[in-house]
Symmetry: C2
Subunit: 231 residues, 2 copies
């Protein structure tokens, strides 16, 4: 039995609450980060608040093991005087969409083996993909995630804009988008690279540029050049 | 019963052959585009060769309906004197990976209703997602596909490079990559946009840039700026 206190009511906190409530062997309490007058005791206290609020909130809690859920922050962002850790879930959470926690990678960090084991035990109660990752590695993962999630989604947006402008249903592209994401499970991204840039197909590249607006052209040219330089 | 002649032995041709051979109601023949001395008759002749070879190969064939499979080329790239069409499959094909043709969008174009119906009939024998798309729309789709496939894959490659450099397994990112691709089935890419760029989180953006090499920084800065401008 592990007792968990969840501090925060945002997006990540909401998904975490739902999964904790449906898990066995967890005594669960949740409080709002703006009301820290009466803080319940717990084995593990999870602060799921915005990055900027981690220091302030953690400084006010005296529970034995306090972890944050941020991919961008070091373990030292926590200002509690007790033990610290990180409970980072590398996934994109929207309130509109249910998350399958069996598919969520848990990236855990603690100050000692005992605390690490306790975090692993908790993660195992709600998920399957458990990694121990230090603050330096997590920083790298977080940047990589920006490329494969935020920036990729932005390329989807450009694709959507182009379709809208030329009256083609964006849905036609969905199977390609899914296949592109699946392919790298069996083939490295380097080996999966296809298209006019890597073939240096100048005629097609010119035709494409003719169809794009200025902003889209800038992005098209830069990524094409980068692919060709093999960076 | 439709008779099909497939001209070409490349990547797309190989996947097409495999699916034609396993389909009912198709009389199938395949020839090499470099040996056009003896060309079998067929209802539909599919030229699956490189874009540059379409004109030359099509000029040498006299079958009634000749189509190419290129997303980048107009129907007029065909130089046969009989009827013309396009049989474009918007999917990424690798020899290493089996393709589920039920998930492949067929983008069909013909010069008249009768030919279009015949192409639709053929596509229905091997697939499910059938669209009629004219040359202008296909051009737009092809550019959009470069963004959501080629360029997205390149962002995966950058993610992989960052992981390698910091000794983190790239596998940790695979669930996020899949979720990013699935999310836009229920939420538009515009509404799915998250991350430090859209939040204008300057501190995190600076931390990220510190971790990247020059080339990665250029791409990071340009896409971040573009997201912030809402283009």
């Amino acid at each position: 039995m592990i007792s968990v206190l969840l501090v925060g009511k945002g997006n990540v906190a909401t998904h975490l609450r739902n999964t904790f409530l449906s898990a066995d062997n967890i005594v669960f309490t949740q409080i709002n980060s703006r009301d820290l007058t009466n803080i319940p005791k717990a084995d593990i206290t999870i602060i799921a608040v915005t990055d900027d609020a981690i220091a302030e909130v953690s400084a006010k809690i005296k529970n034995p093991l306090i972890v944050h859920t941020s991919g961008a922050c070091s373990i030292n962002e926590l200002k509690n005087t007790t033990k610290k850790g990180v409970f980072y879930m590398l996934q994109t959470f929207s309130l509109e969409k249910k998350v399958d926690f069996n598919e969520v990678p848990f990236c855990l960090e603690a100050e000692n083996k005992k605390d690490e084991e306790q975090l692993v035990e908790l993660a195992n109660l709600i998920g399957k993909k458990i990694y121990t990752i230090n603050s330096e590695q997590r920083k790298a993962l977080h940047v990589a995630a920006v490329f494969v999630n935020n920036f990729t989604n932005y390329l989807y947006k450009i694709g959507n804009d182009i379709c809208k402008e030329h009256q083609v249903p964006f849905d036609i592209l969905l199977p390609l988008i899914k296949e592109t994401a699946s392919k790298i499970e069996v083939l490295s991204p380097e080996k999966s690279q296809t298209g006019p840039a890597i073939r240096n197909d100048k005629k097609t590249i010119k035709n494409h540029l003719d169809l794009l607006n200025k902003e889209q052209q800038k992005i098209y040219k830069m990524i094409t050049k980068s692919i060709q330089n093999g960076n």
